[in-house]
């Protein structure tokens, strides 16, 4: 089964190459993308089942001994993230193909998107710090291209912020990786825990902070988040959907990985404070906005706070809660952006002052928005409630009162801003000036593929809520994997 691991990276990248080769034929590009993306989903699911049954799978690239090779390591945590991510990537891909104006879009969408998939898979699987950096770079550069796909004024301006800050992130990351190598002489994440533990405290702290800053920037954690709300809204809708759902979560994934695997014994009070600030600053920003995409973008930041809170609380239960939160959050956030995309395609704007009455124009679309919106605000019985409750319960168990208070207050404010979108865009009378506004089910029928995909993703979020028990138990096993450096080392170095 471990032979499948390199395929996860290789297939999409090969697809990207083929896609570049057939750049003149969009249909062929589409077929390639769907096939590659689909096979990544298939492989991920197969791995998920296999890893859950047989434990961590390791592939040493090039067949070298695991001590010196670059390893791809698929434990339950990694495969879980892989599965959910690849599902989202496939969904958004199909959604993007359903966009009517796709023919105007750049032909580089498909290659860049496939490269993004490859990078994401690589980042999840990397068992070597520098390799992690490389795949981070791959997915970042693909994201740069996707963000500036149309090359419009907006995209260039916000793209500049995005690219420049992410380049800084890369520098910080590679500095951290290099200095970890300087101090330990290895990059193998299975060997690193014991070597890092031998280092003096000051050095450990510095190395840890370097990685935290790098991944924190990617995850948009306070005070490194400002780039996100400025840059995501400018991207084409499907792109911002996949960015919103996925990219920051890869940062969180890396934070969890490094915190639990490399620096398990750090004092995380600071991180807890940061988590609180992240939640607050994100949701406050969201409340202040009056544009759907920007509100949703700020919520990414805010929601990251919950995950960081879980990480900061530490311990298997908290990590379980965090992982569950991530699993829930990725499809929820994605679907919100997908709905927004349909609204924007239908009305031509995402400004709340210009859109209204969408609920009257399409009830099903309203439902597609309402479910993930309430989920995001943590209302039962949706998945967000479960995630929030899991995190909050653990916070209370650990007697971290203030962070729980903050978390709950923030979820109320989340609700406020979701209601802002709902009352602004979905309630009220449809704009009478908009003469070709489609009524009733016409909206969804007109965007059939987009709506189908959105519906599927929303259904997925509902399914996560419905089958929360088994999923939570899987998260528990994943967290056990993630928090046990010794087991990781044993799996990689038999």
């Amino acid at each position: 089964m471990s032979a499948l691991l390199p395929l996860l990276v290789g297939v999409p990248l090969l697809g990207a190459a083929c896609s570049l080769a057939v750049i003149r034929s969009r249909p062929v590009q589409r077929v390639i993308s769907v096939v590659c993306s689909g096979s990544v989903v298939g492989i991920s699911i197969a791995l998920l089942i296999d890893v859950d049954r047989n434990g961590t799978e390791v592939a040493s690239i090039g067949g070298w001994p695991a001590e010196i090779a670059i390893n791809l390591v698929a434990d339950r945590f990694a495969t879980l993230m892989l599965t959910i991510s690849s599902l989202m990537l496939l969904a958004v891909l199909v959604y993007a193909m359903g966009q009517r104006t796709d023919h105007e879009r750049s032909r580089f969408f498909h290659p860049a998107y496939l490269a993004l998939i490859g990078g994401v898979c690589g980042a999840f699987l990397a068992g070597d710090l520098f390799n992690l950096f490389v795949w981070f770079e791959a997915l970042l550069i693909a994201s740069y291209v996707l963000l500036t796909l149309d090359g419009t004024d907006d995209q260039i301006r916000s793209g500049t912020t995005y690219v420049v800050l992410n380049v800084i992130e890369s520098f910080v990351l590679v500095t951290g990786v290099a200095l970890i190598f300087a101090a330990t002489g290895t990059l193998n994440m299975a060997v690193l825990p014991e070597r890092l533990a031998e280092l003096p405290d000051g050095i450990q702290l510095g190395l840890n902070l370097l990685l935290l800053i790098a991944f924190g920037l990617k995850a948009a954690v306070f005070p490194l988040y400002s780039w996100l709300p400025d840059s995501y809204p400018a991207a084409p809708s499907p792109v911002s959907a996949v960015f919103a759902g996925l990219l920051t979560k890869i940062g969180v994934y890396a934070i969890i990985r490094t915190q639990t695997l490399l620096f398990p014994d750090t004092n995380r009070t600071l991180l807890l404070v940061i988590a609180g600030l992240t939640m607050v600053v994100g949701v406050v920003g969201a409340i202040a906005q009056s544009d759907m995409k920007r509100i949703l973008s700020f919520h990414i930041v805010s929601q990251i706070g919950y995950m960081i809170m879980g990480v900061a609380l530490g311990g298997v239960v908290a990590i379980t809660a965090t992982i569950f939160y991530m699993v829930h959050h990725i499809p929820v956030k994605t679907s919100l952006f997908l709905v927004e995309g349909i609204v924007e395609r239908e009305t031509g704007t995402s400004s709340l002052s210009k859109v209204s009455g969408m609920a009257r124009r399409s009830g099903p679309l309203a439902a597609l928005f309402l479910i993930p919106a309430f989920s995001l605000a943590g209302l039962p019985p949706f998945s967000g409630f479960l995630g929030k409750t899991a995190v909050v319960t653990e916070g209370l168990q650990q007697r971290s009162w203030w962070i729980v208070a903050v978390a709950l207050a923030v979820s109320l404010m989340t609700l406020i801003s979701m209601l802002k979108i709902w009352t602004g865009a979905f309630w009220g009378a449809p704009d009478p000036a908009d003469e070709d506004a489609r009524e009733g089910d016409g909206v969804l029928r007109h965007h059939r593929l987009m709506s189908a995909v959105t519906g599927a993703v929303v259904t997925l979020t509902l399914a996560i809520a419905l089958f929360a028990g088994p999923i939570y138990r899987f998260c528990e096993r994943a967290a056990a994997d993630a928090t046990d450096p010794l087991a990781y080392a044993l799996a990689v170095l038999p």
Partner: protein, 130 residues
Amino acid sequence: MSVEQALLIGLMAGAGTYLALHRTLTRIILGLGLLGNAVNLLILTSGDGPGEPPIIGREGEFTDPIPQALVLTAIVIGFGVISFLLAMAYRAWTIDGNDEVEDDISDRQLADRAAETGDADTAPGREGGS
């Protein structure tokens, strides 16, 4: 890592930082270039001290080959990124004739609105309720 190497790293990083804190995209890119050089040197010197190039058959104490391989990768990646940024600068020029990085429009609008007192976006429907 010798002291002068560390100093050079710090110097280039500092200079890069200074340049990156400008509004002109060209300057920012130059700054990022310098920062990239600093980081690359840092990677290279993160191994042991200098020595013979690690080529089998040569005499003497080899330097650590791993940092070299890492830097090679990092240099090329850095080049790709810088090229992309330069393409963005070019595109920015074709849009508005310069490469100054403007503030985000929505953020500025928000600031303008916050500056006005009693703006329109207050709680929906004060007149509602009892």
